[in-house]
């Protein structure tokens, strides 16, 4: 299994993300209908369809270029809150990966940069019931796993697990950012759609890095 993330794997990460967003479109929209405006699944499907199109025939030397391109495409095609947020996050991740192949430490630093960009733009902190509640534990777990000697695929897998738990942990929270915050206490008891889609992205990364090269 790959010990580094190269441009091809970065592309695969985006393609896998697109595939899982397409699979989960309905669920994401339903979650958003419950505490938002019912468009999250459609928004991301539109965005990642554009990303797949943009990456076709585009093969840059670095994983960073792939992710910057993906982020820029999301910003120009999604709209809503999630477009600029995911777009900026992926662009930040990409900017930190301006090299042919990134090892675990470098990918960790890049994911942390993505998390920071997300928080800078949206102003959300842990517990606000947003994507941030997935990015923070996922990046922390990625760090912890590496420190514990895990391989890159192993760290990605642990991060994906933490991301999934982070999404589930948004259920009891009261939203303080985004549309769901309008509901006040009525937002409690529902899983946040953006946190859910963020968990899909981390899962996609783990899937791609977990593959035998072939």
């Amino acid at each position: 299994m790959p010990e580094v993330l190269e441009a091809a794997a970065a592309r695969d990460w985006m393609l896998e993300s697109a595939a899982s967003v397409a699979r989960e479109r309905g669920r994401l929209t339903e979650l958003d209908a419950a505490i938002g405006d019912g468009d999250h699944g459609t928004n991301l499907q539109r965005g990642f369809t554009a990303v797949v199109a943009a990456l076709g025939g585009f093969d840059p030397p670095t994983p960073g270029a792939v992710l910057v391109k993906a982020g820029t495409t999301l910003i120009s095609s999604v709209g809503g809150a999630s477009g600029p947020l995911y777009g900026s996050a992926l662009r930040a991740v990409g900017k930190a990966l301006d090299l042919p192949a990134a090892d675990g430490k470098q990918l960790l630093a890049a994911l942390a940069a993505g998390r920071d960009a997300l928080q800078r733009l949206g102003g959300a902190v842990a517990g606000d019931k947003t994507m941030v509640d997935v990015w923070i534990p996922a990046v922390a777990e990625f760090d912890f796993a590496l420190a514990g000697g895990a391989s890159l695929p192993g760290a990605a897998a642990s991060a994906a697990g933490a991301a999934g738990r982070g999404a589930e942990d948004t259920v009891p929270l009261q939203a303080r950012k985004g549309r769901a915050s309008y509901l006040g206490p009525r937002s409690i008891g529902h899983q946040d759609p953006g946190a859910t889609s963020s968990a899909l992205l981390f899962r996609a990364l783990a899937v791609v890095l977990g593959r035998e090269p072939g």
Partner: protein, 332 residues
């Protein structure tokens, strides 16, 4: 879901084709999804650009025209437009005096318009942003994304648009827009939810005898759920929420918008207006001007929003100034 559409993914494009066919005085760029006046912006006139998710028609495209907006950027249904749309709009309507973005306060709109403002400024276009946040159903605090922008958007676009038409500077137009927003308050009640073409079913389900109080314009549930009551009582509560937040004293003048959310018969809106006017009358507040109808809608939601804007003679004169758009027209 039953709708007069061809394909849920084509709703906005198909509607834009209809808007282009229906309104010769507008020009529609279907590729970039920008609606502008057919006539070029007068050199030296500040341009107003607004936009947001579709599903609120006539807002915003129906307010493009003389005395109001120079351009509108429709996003997907209930989804804010992307920065590229606002950049294209700003580039095509800038008359050299700068552009005012009128932005309803939703995270998505704020972020996308914010990015567009940066891009436009990189292109050398001066941009001022007026944020509209009039919905008192949302407590403005560190606990929420802040108040939503709803009915006051119409007041801001009309009055700031009139100021721009009169040759006010970028700073002045933005300042007037902010004053109008600061003087406006709204509250909405829903009898039903609404169904987006993409979701295919209502955002929430309401029993035959319940209403959602304090809703926004995106089919999201409101602040609380209550039993249906006589219009008199529902309006009294909505007005109390508005007047608690912005007390009005005897002799003051207001603009009143009694706005249908999409599926409410005009007959009912007039009943609501009658209640609003007697409540204001009892306080000695004078209704200087009013609108009753569907202006800021939420697809097929049944319900009403009430917006009050405290005005003085200056703002009133700007309100009365000529306007020529698909949805508001007078003086021409």
């Amino acid at each position: 879901m039953k709708k007069l559409i061809n394909d849920p993914d084509q709703v906005v494009s198909d509607a834009l084709a209809g808007i282009a066919a229906a309104h010769p005085r507008l020009s529609v760029d279907p590729k970039n999804r920008v609606i502008t006046r057919a006539a070029q912006t007068r050199i030296g006139k500040v341009a107003l650009v607004s936009g947001g998710g579709s599903g609120h028609e006539p807002l915003h495209g129906g307010f493009v025209g003389l005395g109001m907006l120079d351009a509108a950027c429709p996003g997907e249904v209930f989804t804010s437009p992307v920065p590229g749309q606002m950049l294209t709009a700003a580039q095509s309507v800038d008359g050299g005096a700068g552009v005012v973005f009128v932005v309803k306060n939703y995270t998505g709109d704020v972020l996308n318009f914010g990015m567009a403002a940066e891009l436009a400024q990189d292109e050398g276009i001066a941009v001022e942003t007026v944020l509209v946040d009039d919905d008192v159903a949302v407590r403005d605090s560190t606990w929420t994304a802040g108040r939503r922008g709803t009915g006051a958007t119409l007041f801001v676009e009309k009055i700031a648009g009139a100021a721009a038409e009169r040759g006010a500077s970028l700073a002045e137009v933005a300042a007037i827009g902010r004053r109008v927003n600061a003087a406006s308050r709204s509250f909405a009640v829903a009898l039903t939810s609404c169904t987006t073409p993409a979701a295919g079913r209502p955002g929430f389900d309401l029993p035959e005898d319940e209403i959602e109080v304090g809703v926004g314009i995106h089919g999201e549930p409101g602040r609380s759920r209550e039993k249906i009551r006589p219009a008199k009582e529902i309006v009294a509560d909505a007005m109390a929420a508005i007047l608690d937040d912005q007390p009005l004293s005897e002799g003051e003048e207001v603009l009143v918008l009694v706005n249908g959310l999409g599926a409410t018969p005009l007959l009912e809106l007039y009943i609501v207006f009658g209640e609003v006017s007697s409540i204001l009358g009892a306080r000695g507040v004078r209704i200087a001007r009013s609108l009753v109808g569907d202006y800021v809608t939420s697809l097929d939601m049944a319900g009403v929003s009430i917006t009050l804007c405290r005005v003085n003679p200056e703002l009133l004169a700007l309100w009365d100034a000529p306007v020529d758009t698909p949805a508001l027209r007078w003086g021409v």
